[in-house]
Symmetry: C2
Subunit: 249 residues, 2 copies
């Protein structure tokens, strides 16, 4: 079990083989067993495999090849639509049109997503998360016809791996773990914790290709630049408002 | 593996036994192998076991007994503090003081949390998520001394189970899965999907005890009332602002 977790690699190249229906069902069932706030299950999993719709998702997700190639794309959505409808039909007044409720539903979605990811890997499949989901919520909602109170939070591409990448480096465990309370980092700590990552051969190549002085600059200037983060913050907040989740008074 | 996932029960009563150090380390390592946006690892896990600090967390988490009883409490935090410090020390300008970056870090935290939950269960431990985390961010930050750019997102209590609860009911899988696109629910769909849940013996008892006409009313009036959701939305958004994550222009 923990082997599955410890051996996780993101897979970005897939074989053409489809995923057997009963296997996919087991994987989705694993998603539905994740913890969920008050057992409300305020999430949905939209499972897309038709080429026509995948092509549109591929475009929304910055044209990453794996979205076209993977036989299955699962979009995990924060979803209060179903719960709200149930409340209304049962003479109850839902008060879930606010930010807290969105965030609660996002937590539900993400715990389900990670169960699905692990269950898929345990079946011999490969997965990769698409961080582009939160950048492109409105476009994805248009493609998947998401109603009010439904917000895409993350996406998994899934299929039989057609590559065997090495394990990705991680910071030493001590970098992300604090005992008892949060112990803030001194500049010496930061130097120590990032030393191994900065000395990787892959880092050296990245600096050369990108003509940058430090690895951190590749993140701040190329991969996750302020300008983009600000634009995506605005569009994400606007989408939350549009979907009905920002009535906080 | 999938057995661990499919047999998940939230555990709220724990034995006094502590968790062996090497076991805890394996579990935390599993957390660190979860997918993370651009391998930035923008999360932290704060592992609390001292009674003095647990008592304060217990109070913050609405005095739920399990917080005092469990030998280990792990608070999962969205954390751009470490990454920002690294950037600044490396002549790079971090642009992560916005909502998108907070949400990215929250995703990282939640995927790590679910890995930790599953790894713990695979070791024979029991866990329960604390939904009260997002209600009480400021108070939890005070207790754990979280600096700017660190926001508690969820919490796991963990220990050896001292109860064997039955599997919790779930809606039929079809309620949370959509194929190709989102298929919205008709009122007949809603009736069908909630039928089993509404007919449970536990539901009947809940209605009797709470003197309510429908199960949905127990959610809207008692458990997750609009008044509380609005108040918690305001305090969560204010805390995001305070921690530096709402500079979206």
């Amino acid at each position: 079990m923990q082997n599955t977790i410890l051996n996780h690699r993101s897979i970005r190249k897939f074989k053409a083989d489809t995923i057997p229906g009963d296997m996919l069902e087991r994987i989705l069932l694993s998603g539905s067993r994740a913890s969920t706030t008050g057992n409300m299950q305020v999430y949905s999993m939209v499972v897309t495999s038709k080429a026509e719709i995948k092509d549109k998702l591929w475009e929304a997700h910055f044209k990453q090849d794996m979205v076209k190639q993977a036989p299955v794309i699962i979009t995990f959505c924060a979803d209060f639509n179903r719960f709200n409808k149930w409340c209304t039909q049962r003479n109850a007044s839902p008060g879930y049109d606010n930010f807290l409720s969105f965030f609660t539903a996002a937590i539900d979605s993400l715990l389900a997503a990670q169960n699905v990811a692990i269950a898929a890997e345990a079946e011999g499949l490969g997965i990769c998360y698409l961080g582009t989901t939160t950048y492109m919520t409105q476009r994805i909602a248009d493609i998947l016809e998401l109603p009010r109170f439904v917000v895409p939070v993350t996406t998994l591409v899934m299929g039989y791996p057609d590559e065997t990448p090495p394990l990705t480096d991680r910071l030493p465990l001590g970098a992300v773990v604090h005992y008892e309370k949060y112990i803030d980092y001194s500049s010496v700590d930061i130097d120590k914790l990032y030393l191994e990552k900065e000395n990787l051969e892959t880092t050296r190549k990245l600096l050369e290709v990108n003509k940058k002085e430090t690895l951190a600059q590749i993140f701040t200037d190329n991969r996750y630049a302020k300008k983009d983060n600000v634009a995506f913050s605005q569009s994400l907040l606007a989408f939350l408002e549009k979907q009905g989740f920002m009535n906080n008074m």
